[in-house]
Symmetry: C2
Subunit: 139 residues, 2 copies
DNA sequence: TTAAATATGCAATAAAGTTGCATTTATGTA
DNA sequence: TACATAAATGCAACTTTATTGCATATTTAA
């Protein structure tokens, strides 16, 4: 089974043991265009405990097979909108800086979000940029 | 009390009633550089129920006083890393497109994240870009 | 084949989001 | 100023997701 061997190779090259669960989850990722959440996996693989899927994602994440995508759900953080002071200057575009040392998130309101291009047929409504690094206070 | 009047003006201009809780939360936002989470508010304002703070944030959000900042916590979605197939091509920078119609999140791997500048003293370690809009399938 | 290391399933707990309802408060009008 | 109405708050309850411990099962290397 060539396909399975390929999955095995990927897992091994990331120092992960080859298990049925991991192979199935990895194949599912590779056959999908869109990003997946844990609940997507829970719906797809009812034969596995959700803790197993949780740990599968964690192991894939730690080994770099997948990456986490920032989102607006969950433990949200909020920043004051620029238009709070000037209501007519509506801005949907922000650059947020998250310091990996102190953990603080700041809105870089004075920095413009650079132009971005998307594939044909895609329509942009808002752009968010999250920059990770070390802030001036922690340097 | 000039400061309180200013808070009242902001709330009124956003069609929100002026309450002690809202004034205190708004002032807290305005005196802080960093973004705040609900638990930050819960720690700061123990006199208010967490549901009240939750709804305060919701009302601020709906009226545009604050905006939500994407993050890596909570209900996470995951995408296959590009280096899963070519391990030596490490990429920390991604553009993710979230369709506001079908809800799917896609990694636009072939699109480069544009250059971004940050203030003096800040060090960039990774850049993430989240573009919201309508995808080609939903147009 | 076997021992050691790791993965899985189950139970339990924690944290955050969300809703319903009774009570309190803010606001416009008489 | 007092009142009626609409909205905000507090409390209880429930849902979803994240997380950990431990016993059992599976993988891997010798």
């Amino acid at each position: 089974m060539e396909n399975t061997d390929h999955l095995k190779e990927i897992l091994e090259s990331h120092n992960l043991r080859t298990t049925d669960c991991r192979k199935k989850v990895l194949r599912f990722f590779m056959n999908r265009e869109a990003a997946l959440s844990q609940s997507d996996l829970e719906n797809q693989f009812k034969q596995y405990d959700r803790v197993t899927l949780y740990r599968t994602l964690n192991s894939f994440l730690a080994s770099g097979i997948i990456h986490k995508i920032p989102n607006y759900q969950g433990v949200a953080t909020y920043g004051l909108s620029r238009e709070t002071c000037s209501p007519h200057d509506h801005d949907d575009n922000h650059i947020h800086f998250k310091c990996n040392h102190c953990g603080q998130i700041q809105c870089l309101d004075d920095k413009l979000v650079p132009e971005v291009t998307v594939p044909k047929g895609y329509k942009i409504e808002a752009v968010n940029m999250i920059v990770d690094g070390i802030c001036a206070q922690c340097t």
